[in-house]
C-alpha cells in the first residue's frame, strides 16, 4: 500500500485510519499501539516536504475559514503564544472486537460501557497566534506562492487520483461506516451558521481575549489556532517559536455550541458542581469559530530563508557591494540624507543575538537615533514613521510602538500568567525572535507613570540590556530569552532606555525623490537575509591588531568600559557580514573605528 494514492490532503484521517489498522494487525497488544505513531508522520512528511506538496495545503488566514472543508489537511503559520496543560483523551477503543482510533479527532462515537477497553493517551495543546508584526509583503508573497503552486498542481493532481485504485476503494468503503463520515458540506453549513450567530449577537464571544501580542491590527481577519500535538512532537517547540503546522482541521458543532452556551453563562450551575476552578480545560471556552482546532500531524519551524521562497540566496560578490550601496543610499535618503546614521541603521538591521555568554547577549546592537522631531499633536514623529515604514519593507516582522504615556500606562507589555483563567496573558513584548521593534520616544510627554508604566519601562530596559523579557508568574519570574533588535528614536539622548549606540541625526537638505522598484526591494531583502545567515570569524593576525587597538584606546581614554569594546567587536562583525565576508578584514575594522570616531565627534557637539 503506498502513500501517494491516498488522498492525504482531502481526507487525512482516512490515511491515518489505514495506517492504524495496518499496525493493529501487526501489534501484539493494545499497549504496543501507543508506542508508535504507525508511520503517520513519515508518510505526511514525505509527501509534504519532499515533493513540496505543502504549498497545496490551504492556509488558515489566507483562505476564509468557512471555505475549508472540515477534516481536511490545513496549514497554519503562527507563533506559539501559550502552552496549555496536557489533555488526556481516549485514543483507541475496542468496538465489537475491533480496535478503532480516535487520534487526531475531537469526537468519536465511543460506545458506552467500553471504558475498560479504551486506551487513554495524552496530547499537548498549544495556543498559536498569527505571527505578530508580520509584514504585509511576507503574506502577499506566501499567497502568491500558493496560487502558483496550485495552478501547476491541479492538473497533475487530477491525474494522480484515478478512481478505481484498490486503495482508494478500500478508503471509500471504510468511510461509509466511519463514525465521522464525510458529510463536510453539512457541517460546513452548520459552522457557517454559527459564525454568523457569534459575530452578530453575542458580546461574550467578542470579548473573549484572543491574546494577540500586538492586538489584531488588521481588523479581526486573522484567527489564532488551538494546536493539538501528539507523540511528544512538541519537545523542541518553545514558546514564541514561529512555526508552520500541518494538521487536520476539526470542528464539532456540538462541542462549540456547548461552549457557546457556556459563554452565555447558561450552565454556571454545572460549573459549580464540576469544579471550583473555572479554568478547567481552557480550550473548551474558546469558540471554535474564533479559534479553529488543528490536530497537528507534523510541523516545522519557519526560518529566515523561507521568506526567500526557494530563490537561491547566492548573491554574486560583485553584486554585494552594489546592493549594499543601493540599500545604503535608500536608508540615507530615508534618514534625511544622513549617511553616518544610515551606516549604523544598516548594521543595526543586520544585528541578531548569535550567542549568549553568561548573561550577555552577543551580537545585539540597539540603536538610538537622536534629534528626531516630534510629530504634530502627539502623533508619530515623521522620522519614526519613515523609519518604521522602511524597516517593514525590508524585514519579515517589525513593529512600531509609540512610547507615549498612554501606551505605557495602558497595559503591561510583559506577558503574565493569569491563574484565574489559567492562561498566559500576552503583552506587546511577547515577540518572536527576529522581530524588529521601533520605539518612538518623541511621543513621550511630561506626566505621571503609574505602576504599570514603570514596570513597562523596566521591561523595555531589561530587553535592551540583556535581550530577555521577564514573564510574570506571580510567584516567580521567568526569564525568556528574546532576540528583538530595538531602534529608539528620540529628540535628545534617551535617558530612559539604554541603547548600545547613540547617533545624533544630522539631516541635510531634502534629497531628490528616490525611486524604489520592487526588484530593488526583493534584492535588498535577500541581501539582508543572506547577511544575517553569515558565519563570521576572526583570524589570529587580525585579532592581534584589534587587541592592541583596544588596549591603546583604553590607555588613551580611561572611561572606555568593556561594553564599548563589546560594541566595537559586534559592529566589526556586522560590518564584515554586511559585505558578506566570512572573516574580519582590517579595512572593515578601521571603518568601524572611523564610524565610532565620527559618531563620538557628533555626540560632543551636542
Amino acid at each position: 500500500m503506498g502513500g501517494p494514492s491516498m488522498d492525504l490532503y482531502g481526507n487525512p484521517l482516512g490515511a491515518v485510519r489505514v495506517l492504524f489498522e495496518r499496525s493493529c494487525r501487526n501489534a501484539a497488544s493494545a499497549a504496543e499501539l501507543t508506542r508508535s505513531d504507525w508511520g503517520v508522520q513519515e508518510l505526511f512528511q514525505n509527501s509534504l516536504f519532499a515533493e513540496s506538496g505543502h504549498l497545496q495545503v490551504p492556509e488558515i488566514n489566507s483562505v476564509p475559514l468557512d471555505a475549508i472543508p472540515v477534516n481536511s489537511l490545513v496549514r497554519f503559520r503562527g507563533m506559539v503564544q501559550d502552552m496549555f496543560d496536557v489533555e488526556y483523551y481516549i485514543g483507541a477503543y475496542k468496538d465489537q472486537g475491533v480496535w478503532h482510533t480516535s487520534k487526531y479527532m475531537d469526537v468519536a462515537d465511543v460506545p458506552s460501557g467500553s471504558e475498560a477497553e479504551a486506551q487513554m493517551w495524552d496530547r499537548r495543546v498549544l495556543y498559536c497566534v498569527p505571527i505578530p508584526g508580520e509584514n504585509s509583503w511576507v503574506k502577499e508573497s506566501c499567497a502568491a506562492q500558493r496560487t502558483a503552486a496550485l495552478s501547476t498542481v491541479t492538473v497533475s493532481q487530477g491525474e494522480k487520483r484515478p478512481r478505481g485504485s484498490s486503495d482508494e476503494e478500500a478508503f471509500e468503503a471504510m468511510e461509509a461506516d466511519a463514525p465521522l463520515g464525510n458529510d463536510a458540506s453539512d457541517k460546513k453549513r452548520l459552522r457557517g451558521d454559527e459564525i454568523a450567530s457569534t459575530s452578530q449577537g453575542s458580546p461574550a464571544a467578542t470579548d473573549l481575549d484572543l491574546n494577540m501580542p500586538l492586538g489584531s491590527s488588521e481588523g479581526n481577519k486573522l484567527v489564532p489556532c488551538l494546536i493539538k500535538v501528539y507523540d511528544g512532537q512538541d519537545a523542541d517547540l518553545k514558546l514564541n517559536d514561529v512555526v508552520e503546522v500541518f494538521g487536520v482541521l476539526t470542528f464539532d458543532p456540538q462541542i462549540s455550541a456547548a461552549s457557546f452556551h457556556q459563554n452565555n453563562g447558561d450552565d454556571s450551575y454545572m460549573d459549580v458542581v464540576q469544579s471550583a476552578f473555572l479554568e478547567d480545560n481552557v480550550s473548551m471556552r474558546l469558540p471554535a469559530s474564533k479559534v479553529p482546532r488543528l490536530q497537528c500531524i507534523t510541523w516545522r519551524k519557519i526560518c529566515q530563508s523561507d521568506y526567500a521562497h526557494g530563490a537561491s540566496l547566492a548573491v554574486l560578490p560583485s553584486d554585494v557591494a552594489e546592493t549594499r550601496k543601493s540599500l545604503l543610499d535608500y536608508l540615507t535618503f530615508s534618514l534625511g540624507g544622513d549617511a553616518l546614521a544610515a551606516e549604523y541603521l544598516l548594521l543595526h538591521l543586520l544585528s541578531q543575538v548569535h550567542a549568549r555568554v553568561d548573561a550577555m547577549a552577543l551580537g545585539k546592537l540597539s540603536l538610538n537615533i537622536t534629534g528626531c522631531n516630534p510629530g504634530s499633536e502627539g502623533g508619530l514623529s515623521p522620522t519614526a514613521a519613515t523609519a518604521a515604514d522602511v524597516i517593514s519593507k525590508l524585514v519579515p516582522r517589525s513593529h512600531l510602538m509609540p512610547l507615549s504615556l498612554q501606551t505605557l500606562n495602558h497595559a503591561p507589555v510583559a506577558p503574565r500568567k493569569d491563574y484565574v483563567s489559567n492562561r498566559l496573558v500576552t503583552g506587546a513584548m511577547q515577540l518572536s525572535d527576529g522581530t524588529h521593534l521601533t520605539l518612538d520616544e518623541t511621543a513621550l510627554q511630561a506626566g505621571t507613570l503609574n505602576s504599570v508604566g514603570v514596570q513597562n519601562l523596566e521591561v523595555l530596559k531589561h530587553l535592551l540590556q540583556w535581550q530577555k523579557v521577564e514573564y510574570d508568574f506571580q510567584y516567580h519570574k521567568m526569564e525568556m530569552p528574546a532576540d528583538v533588535p530595538v531602534l529608539v528614536l528620540s529628540q535628545g539622548k534617551s535617558r530612559i532606555l539604554p541603547t548600545d549606540v547613540i547617533v545624533p541625526l544630522n539631516a541635510t537638505a531634502s534629497h531628490n525623490p528616490f525611486n524604489v522598484t520592487d526588484s530593488d526591494l526583493i534584492s535588498w531583502r535577500r541581501y539582508i537575509m543572506k547577511a544575517r545567515e553569515m558565519d563570521h570569524s576572526l583570524d589570529e593576525s587580525t585579532q592581534k591588531i584589534v587587541e592592541n587597538d583596544l588596549v591603546a584606546a583604553r590607555q588613551e581614554d580611561r572611561t572606555l568600559a568593556p561594553d564599548v569594546f563589546h560594541r566595537w567587536l559586534t559592529m566589526a562583525r556586522l560590518m564584515a557580514v554586511s559585505y558578506l565576508e566570512p572573516t574580519l578584514k582590517l579595512e572593515r575594522w578601521r571603518k568601524v573605528r572611523d564610524l565610532e570616531h565620527q559618531c563620538a565627534a557628533r555626540l560632543r557637539c551636542m
Binding site: D85, D267, M270, V273, V454, H476
Partner: protein
C-alpha cells in the same frame, strides 16, 4: 496478566497491618488503630515504604498498590474495619455521629428479614477514620511534566508550588434518605463530585406495595467530608527553557485540607485519576477527560540549608573535595567564575554563604552568626552580577534593590485583604530571605524608613512592625549582601572615603566586611579585558578558566554540609585573638584621622569569619590559620578603601615587610621565623607573596638573615 485477587490482597493488607513492626519495635499500625478506636486519630497513613520493608514482603503486592492505589485504599479501609480494636478508654458519647450510629445498629435486628442491599449500612458511614497511602519517602518526586497518561491510577509523588486553592467545603460521602411511606432509611454512596439523588424508594416493601414512596434527604444523617481543591504548578527549575510551567488540579479531602495556601512549596503524593465527563459536559468535551491528583500526603517543603538532603553522590564528592587541600580558594573562585579577578571579594562572599553558628547566651541574648558584606564601587564593576550570582547559589536567596519595586518594600507591610477585608501582614524581602541571604542592590538609595528597619535586621535579626493595630516581630535571620554606589556616582579620589561612602557609621559598623571595588587603570588589566572581550566575540564563549569551577549545585551541597558544623574558638587561641584585636584598636588610636570604626563588633566579626573558615574545613575547632585569614581579609578590605594610607606611610613595601617580620620576631623573642608565619603576617598588612620573596632575597643579600633554601624559613643573623 491474571486478574488480581482482591480477596487475597485484602487478607494481605490485614496481615500487614496486624504484624508490621515499626522502628521503635512496636506494632506501628495496631497502635495507630487503637488510637483511631479511641477517637484520638482520624488519619491512618500507610507508608508504602513500610509495606515494602515488612518481613516476607511481596514486591508485586507493593507494585499492585502503587499502580491501583484507589482500589487499595478501599481494601485497607475494609481491613481496618475488621481489625479495629475496642476503645480502651471511655469515650464521650455525645456527637451526632454516635447517636446516629447507635440508632442504626439497633434498628437492624428487628428488620433482619429484609434482605435489601440498599438498606444495608454502607461501611463508609460507620467509619470514623480516613485511609491514606503514602508513597515511599525515599522515592524522588516527579516533575509535573513527568506524569503521563500511563500513570493514570498510580500513586505518584510530585513537587510544585500551590497557585490557587479553594475554600474548604463539605462533600457528601454517603447520602441518607428516609422514605415517607415505609420509613426506611436508604443509603447512597457518593463517589464522584456529583450524584443523582434517588427519588423513589427502592425498598422491598415499597416496591412490592408499588407505593412509590417519596424519599427525602437527611442532611444530618448523611456523611460529609472536608473537601478542598488546589492547583499545583511546576517549579521554575523543572521547566525546560522556553516552556511554560504546567499545572495540575489536586483534590484534598478530610484531614489533609487546610494544609496549603497559595505560594507554598509542597511535595504531594497522590493518586492520579481521570474524571470522565458526564451528562452535558461529556457531549461538550468529546473524547477528553479531566485529570486530577487525589492527595494522599502533603509535605510543605521550604528548602533551607539545614533541610538540604544530600544525595550519596554528593556526599562522596564533598568528601573528596574536603580532602583537597586548596578547597577554600577552589570554592571561592567558583563563585561567579566568569567575573574576572576579585579573589578576596569572592572569598568574603564565600564566608557569607557559609556563615557562623548563631549563639544564644544563657541570659537569652542572641549573637548573630550571619556575615554581612557590603560591596561598594564604581558603576560597571560587576557588583550586580556578583549579587545575582550569589542569590542563585544560595538555596534561599532574595535579590532586591534599595528601592524595592513592590509596596511591601524590604521589611513588611500591613494591608487589607480585598476579599476578606481582614488586615494581613505581608513580609518583604528581608522576611522572605529568613534563613537565607538577602542581596540588596542600590543600598545607598534605600528609603529612610527601610534604612531604620535594616539596623534592627542586621543586629537583632528581626523585623518589628507596629501598624494598623498589628504589633509583631518577624524573624529575619538573613545574611545581608549589599551593593552601593559611591556618593557621586563614581568614586572620587580627591575626597575622603567617608565622604564617598554615603552611609551612616551606625549602619557601616554592622557590616562584617566592606569592600571597595574600583576600576583602576593599569596596562595588565586593560590587556586582560581586551583579550576577554575578543575571546568572547571570537568563540561565543567565555575564555576557559585555568581551573574547572564547581557547579553551583556542588557548591550549594558543600556549603550546606559545612553549615552543619558548629565550631568554637579554643581557649589557647582567645589570647591570640584578643591581642590581634587590641593591635587593631591601637593602630586606629595612633592614626590622626581614623577611617575605620573598630569596635567590639569588629571582634565579633573576626570570630564569625574564623568560625566560617573552620566550617569550610569541617573542623569543630577554630585554628590559628583561620584567625589569620580572617584578619587578612579584614585588612584587605580596609586597604581596598584606604589605598592612599599605605602610600602615605612612606615606606616601600620591601622595607615595610622587613619591619613587620622583625617586629613580630622580636615580640616572639625568637631568631627563627617560618616562611608560612611570615607570609601570614605580611599578607595581613596587604603585601603579596612576590613582595615577600623579593624582600627575603634582598635582605639575605645584606646578610640580615639567612634563608633556608628548601622551605624558605628565615633565621636572623645575630648582629
Amino acid at each position: 496478566m491474571p486478574a488480581p485477587d482482591f480477596k487475597a490482597d485484602r487478607e494481605r493488607c490485614k496481615e500487614f497491618l496486624r504484624s508490621y513492626i515499626g522502628d521503635d519495635g512496636t506494632l506501628k499500625y495496631m497502635k495507630m488503630l487503637q488510637q483511631v478506636a479511641n477517637r484520638k486519630l482520624k488519619a491512618v497513613e500507610i507508608n508504602l515504604g513500610d509495606v515494602k520493608d515488612a518481613k516476607d514482603a511481596d514486591l508485586s503486592f507493593v507494585e499492585r498498590i502503587r499502580t491501583n492505589a484507589r482500589r487499595y485504599v478501599g481494601l485497607f479501609a475494609d481491613a481496618i474495619d475488621d481489625l479495629l480494636p475496642e476503645p480502651n478508654i471511655p469515650l464521650a458519647r455525645d456527637d451526632d455521629f454516635d447517636v446516629f450510629l447507635s440508632q442504626r445498629t439497633e434498628e437492624v435486628p428487628e428488620q433482619m428479614d429484609v434482605v435489601d442491599p440498599l438498606h444495608k449500612l454502607p461501611p463508609e458511614i460507620k467509619r470514623y477514620f480516613e485511609v491514606y497511602i503514602k508513597s515511599e519517602d525515599k522515592n524522588a518526586a516527579l516533575a509535573l511534566r513527568g506524569v503521563k497518561a500511563s500513570h493514570i491510577g498510580w500513586l505518584v509523588k510530585v513537587r510544585g508550588i500551590i497557585t490557587r486553592c479553594t475554600d474548604v467545603k463539605p462533600l457528601m460521602q454517603v447520602a441518607t434518605y428516609t422514605c415517607e411511606t415505609c420509613g426506611y432509611e436508604i443509603y447512597q454512596e457518593v463517589t464522584s463530585r456529583s450524584f443523582m439523588p434517588i427519588s423513589e424508594c427502592p425498598s422491598v416493601r415499597c416496591r412490592t406495595n408499588n407505593a412509590k414512596g417519596m424519599l427525602s434527604l437527611q442532611v444530618r444523617g448523611s456523611k460529609f467530608t472536608k473537601f478542598q481543591e488546589a492547583k499545583i504548578q511546576e517549579l521554575a527549575d523543572q521547566v525546560p527553557k522556553g516552556h511554560i510551567p504546567r499545572t495540575m488540579t489536586v483534590q484534598i479531602r478530610g484531614e489533609l485540607t487546610r494544609l496549603v495556601g497559595p505560594g507554598d512549596l509542597v511535595e504531594i503524593s497522590g493518586i492520579f485519576l481521570p474524571t470522565p465527563y458526564t451528562g452535558f459536559r461529556a457531549m461538550r468535551a468529546g473524547l477528553v477527560a479531566d485529570t486530577y491528583l487525589e492527595a494522599m500526603s502533603i509535605i510543605q517543603t521550604k528548602k533551607r540549608y539545614d533541610e538540604y538532603v544530600l544525595k550519596d553522590v554528593e556526599q562522596d564528592l564533598i568528601r573528596n573535595l574536603s580532602e583537597d587541600g586548596d578547597i577554600y580558594s577552589k570554592l571561592s573562585s567558583s563563585i561567579a567564575p566568569e567575573i574576572f579577578g576579585h579573589e578576596d571579594v569572592k572569598k568574603a562572599l564565600l564566608l557569607l554563604l557559609v556563615g557562623a553558628p548563631s549563639r544564644q547566651l544563657s541570659d537569652g541574648m542572641k549573637i548573630r552568626g550571619d556575615v554581612h558584606v557590603c560591596l561598594m564601587g564604581d558603576p560597571g564593576v560587576a557588583k550586580s552580577q556578583l549579587l545575582k550570582h550569589m542569590v542563585s547559589v544560595a538555596p534561599r536567596g532574595v535579590y532586591t534593590t534599595g528601592r524595592g519595586s513592590s509596596g511591601v518594600g524590604l521589611t513588611a507591610a500591613v494591608h487589607r485583604d480585598p476579599v476578606t477585608n481582614e488586615m494581613v501582614l505581608e513580609g518583604g524581602a528581608l522576611v522572605l530571605a529568613d534563613m537565607g541571604i538577602c542581596a540588596i542592590d542600590e543600598f545607598d538609595k534605600m528609603e529612610e524608613s527601610d534604612r531604620t528597619a535594616i539596623h534592627e535586621v542586621m543586629e537583632q535579626q528581626t523585623v518589628s512592625i507596629a501598624k494598623a493595630g498589628i504589633t509583631t516581630s518577624l524573624n529575619a535571620r538573613t545574611a545581608i549582601l549589599a551593593a552601593a554606589n559611591p556618593a557621586w556616582g563614581r568614586y572620587d579620589m580627591r575626597r575622603t572615603p567617608a565622604e564617598n561612602i554615603n552611609l551612616p557609621p551606625a549602619l557601616l559598623s554592622r557590616f562584617d566586611i566592606m569592600w571597595l571595588i574600583l576600576d583602576r587603570a593599569d596596562m595588565d588589566s586593560d590587556l586582560a579585558m581586551a583579550r576577554h572581550v575578543l575571546h568572547v566575540h571570537q568563540h561565543s564563549a567565555p575564555p576557559s578558566l585555568d581551573f574547572t569551577p564547581l557547579d553551583s549545585s556542588t557548591l550549594r551541597a558543600y556549603i550546606s554540609s559545612a553549615r552543619q558544623v558548629i565550631p568554637y574558638v579554643p581557649r589557647d587561641l582567645t589570647e591570640y585573638m584578643a591581642s590581634a584585636y587590641s593591635a587593631l584598636r591601637q593602630e586606629e588610636a595612633q592614626s590622626d584621622a581614623p577611617h575605620s570604626y573598630t569596635t567590639a563588633r569588629t571582634l565579633l566579626s573576626i570570630i564569625r569569619l574564623s568560625e566560617a573558615l573552620a566550617r569550610l574545613r569541617f573542623s569543630n575547632v577554630v585554628a590559628q590559620s583561620d584567625i589569620d585569614e580572617a584578619l587578612r581579609l579584614m585588612q584587605m578590605s580596609k586597604f581596598s578603601l584606604y589605598t592612599d594610607e599605605r602610600k602615605k606611610s612612606g615606606l616601600d613595601p620591601i622595607s615595610d615587610i622587613y619591619s613587620i617580620i622583625r617586629d613580630e620576631a622580636a615580640r616572639a623573642r625568637t631568631m627563627d621565623v617560618s616562611y608560612n608565619s611570615a607570609l601570614n603576617w605580611i599578607s595581613r598588612k596587604g603585601h603579596s607573596q612576590a613582595q615577600l620573596k623579593e624582600c627575603l632575597e634582598e635582605y639575605a643579600a645584606l646578610n640580615v638573615w639567612q634563608i633556608n633554601p628548601t622551605n624558605f624559613d628565615i633565621h636572623f643573623v645575630d648582629a
